[in-house]
């Protein structure tokens, strides 16, 4: 039994579901960011799996992954800043306590 495209895709789906679960259920804002990182990783994994199995000569998938990395980095940096501001304004980093729409 060889490792096929569907194996990677199933793994990616599982990883994405776990990431979504983390993003939805964790109370800590930083943990939510971690869940988002997992989801991005799942997406990147899918991109590369598709590239490898379907379009190895093309460059689109790899460029997308590059951009995905960029987005992840930007998200992490901004996420940290937001968490710090959240902490400053609400005295907590619990997302469900910060439900007011006006700071």
């Amino acid at each position: 039994m060889t490792v096929g495209l569907s194996h990677y895709l199933i793994l990616g789906a599982a990883l994405f579901g776990l990431g979504a679960l983390a993003a939805i259920t964790r109370r800590n804002a930083v943990a939510v960011l971690m869940g988002v990182e997992l989801m991005l990783n799942a997406a990147n994994l899918n991109f590369l799996a598709f590239w490898r199995y379907l379009t190895p000569q093309g460059m689109e998938a790899q460029v997308f992954v590059i951009i995905g990395f960029t987005v992840a980095a930007a998200e992490a940096a901004l996420g940290l800043a937001v968490v710090l501001n959240l902490y400053r304004d609400f005295g907590t980093v619990n997302v469900d306590e910060a439900s007011g729409l006006k700071g």
Partner: protein, 184 residues
């Protein structure tokens, strides 16, 4: 490499990815969760290697583990002490979110597994050629998206600086809790 070995490596990397991911979700201690992210990302890097995406293996290690994960750990450490470890670390949506996310994963997996994908890779490519080709693509065909991504990154950095700066123009309010990070 034999087929069996490849399969074994894939399964090992799957475990290396998914088990830490589960731990990231379920661990009560958020700092531990951050550290659990490390094997997970390494597992993904391993999967990239299995997909012959050598450049991205390096990028994964450098960018994700070296930069993003460190940043996340910083955030956790800066805010950790306000979190009451006795307080629940999950909100009331667990009961709803678990079945929904499970359904989503299951459906995706089901649909993708049932699709008649090609049995194996269409063609293989050399490692050097790939990286060179990617570099050419990024400054050639895909220069515009690449630059857009860099502008995004720049904007994110500037925004992060602006957001993280303590608001000095506002009057010092007694009720405001000073940022512990700012004190340091």
């Amino acid at each position: 490499m034999s087929t069996l070995a490849v399969m074994g490596a894939f399964l090992a990397l799957t475990v290396l990815t998914l088990f830490p991911a589960i731990m990231v979700i379920s661990t009560r201690n958020v700092l531990h969760a951050g550290f659990w992210l490390l094997p997970c990302l390494i597992g993904v890097a391993g999967l990239y290697a299995m997909l012959d995406a050598h450049f991205f293996v390096v990028a994964q290690v450098l960018v994700y583990i070296g930069a993003i994960l460190v940043l996340i750990l910083f955030s956790l450490m800066l805010t950790r002490d306000v979190m009451n470890p006795k307080a629940p670390q999950h909100n009331g949506l667990v009961g709803v979110a678990v079945p929904i996310c499970a359904t989503m994963s299951a459906i995706c997996a089901l649909l993708l597994a049932r699709h008649p994908w090609p049995a194996g890779p269409v063609a293989a490519a050399g490692a050097q050629d790939q990286t060179v080709a990617l570099g050419r693509a990024l400054i050639g065909t895909y220069a515009l998206p690449f630059e857009a991504a860099s502008v995004l990154l720049l904007a994110a950095l500037v925004g992060a600086i602006v957001l993280a700066k303590a608001p000095q123009s506002e009057p010092p309010a007694a009720e405001r809790i000073e940022c512990p990070g700012g004190e340091k």
